[in-house]
Symmetry: C2
């Protein structure tokens, strides 16, 4: 209504170019906006988040521009700053919630129903689903710490929780062994990493050598569970779990039974 002062111009706006998070914390960016006060506000905020998820999945963090998100959500770019303090803030929220969703899903799966193999298989399937359904987001998870150094800690914390749970599971199932807690944890880290790495190469990098072998997600989960089982328990899983992988049964050191 009332025409206020015309545009000022000496106000110092903030940086523009992606401020390579280097030594000095150059990009303080405006403070985090308060939560929406109205239903419409909440809807819009969610719409922006969902749009960003789709864009992240499609082209990744680096290539994603605020205008991409805005277009996808059907709103004006500057509206984004009403709900988030910037691109990194928005992405951080999305990826954090992704990590958090696993923790919940993971804990919800029942402490340890079924035999050891099924326990491993179940854990693997959670990861396989994530990688096969949203490879783009998984890629972001890996790359986002280039933008926000603190993020890798969050990632690590989740990963650690997961490994620790697995380690405890191993302990429960092998009560008699003399292996220390520490070594058990290392094994969990190593095997958890094996799964992560394999799925990344299969679903994110789409390594043709792997793609041509594994068409069904369940196959991968199964394959990795067998390897895992062999490493920990030093024997093949019960025959009923070997369906399709009977070949493994004979993979052991040639004819060196003596000793």
């Amino acid at each position: 209504m009332k025409t206020m002062t015309t545009k000022k111009k000496q106000v110092s706006a903030r940086p523009a170019v992606a401020p390579v998070g280097r030594k000095e914390r150059r990009n303080a960016v405006s403070k985090k906006p308060a939560a929406p006060q109205t239903q419409r506000g909440n809807q819009t905020r969610d719409r922006l988040k969902e749009a960003a998820v789709r864009v992240l999945e499609r082209i990744g963090y680096r290539a994603m521009r605020l205008s991409d998100i805005a277009a996808e959500a059907g709103v004006n770019v500057s509206l984004l700053y009403h709900y988030f303090s910037g691109k990194a803030d928005l992405t951080h929220e999305i990826l954090s919630e992704l990590l958090e969703s696993w923790r919940i899903q993971d804990a919800g799966g029942g402490p340890s129903s079924g035999d050891a193999f099924e326990s491993i298989l179940r854990a693997n399937k959670v990861m396989v689903t994530a990688y096969s359904r949203t490879p783009g987001l998984m890629r972001c998870l890996l790359h986002f710490d280039e933008e926000e150094a603190e993020f890798s800690e969050l990632y690590r914390r989740v990963s650690a929780d997961w490994s620790i749970r697995i380690a405890k599971d191993i302990a429960r199932r092998c009560p008699g062994v003399s292996l220390g807690d520490e070594q058990r944890l290392m094994i969990a880290y190593a095997l958890g990493g094996m799964v992560d790495n394999f799925l990344f190469e299969l679903y994110v990098d789409r390594n043709p050598n792997l793609v041509k072998v594994f068409s069904a997600p369940d196959d991968v989960a199964h394959f990795l569970a067998i390897l895992w089982y062999r490493t920990v328990y030093l024997t093949n899983p019960p025959a009923e779990h070997l369906r399709g992988y009977e070949g493994f049964a004979s993979l052991r050191l040639g004819e060196v039974p003596a000793a």
Copy 2:
């Protein structure tokens, strides 16, 4: 001497900001400069490359500015364009040569001297050395495909070569088994990934849980070799290789010997 025309200004210079390698190949950048013609030229080019290696190791690709490289090398920024077509070109050359150096080192290690365990251990040590000595570069290797999509293919090719060699090694040592080539290759990928991932978490992320356990590089190589050996050969490595990890000997499925 002669003052030529004053600076023109209508010449269209190239983009400035990191051109998020998106859809249109916006950043064609000037053509690749010819090789240096003189000894001094070669020295300078090498100096720039070595400087860039140090900066990459220290702060990573994203945060590295051309001025950082120039300062480290003690030359003017614009000189960089005499020898490289830009930041990405320079980095690409560095990382490619790093990958290539492994291939050579790897092939040079003799086809397969020693027993199976030593063969695995030797392969692991190559990786441990790389990760423990230049974690920053290893990190760049992982992140650089965000800048140059084609790079991940190069990485994959090297990784595939490595896995294939391992798979063949497994085949030679287990001639009697009925496992297909394909499955053998998958195992090599999985276990290779396990090593990569573990070393990344230990040396690059410096995950405290891992750091406090492994102080000596040889320990990690040994630990991972044992896991590997167990997975493939379904037995512990010969006792002389278990030094320090005797606990593993008893890690197997409780008391289920019957069957």
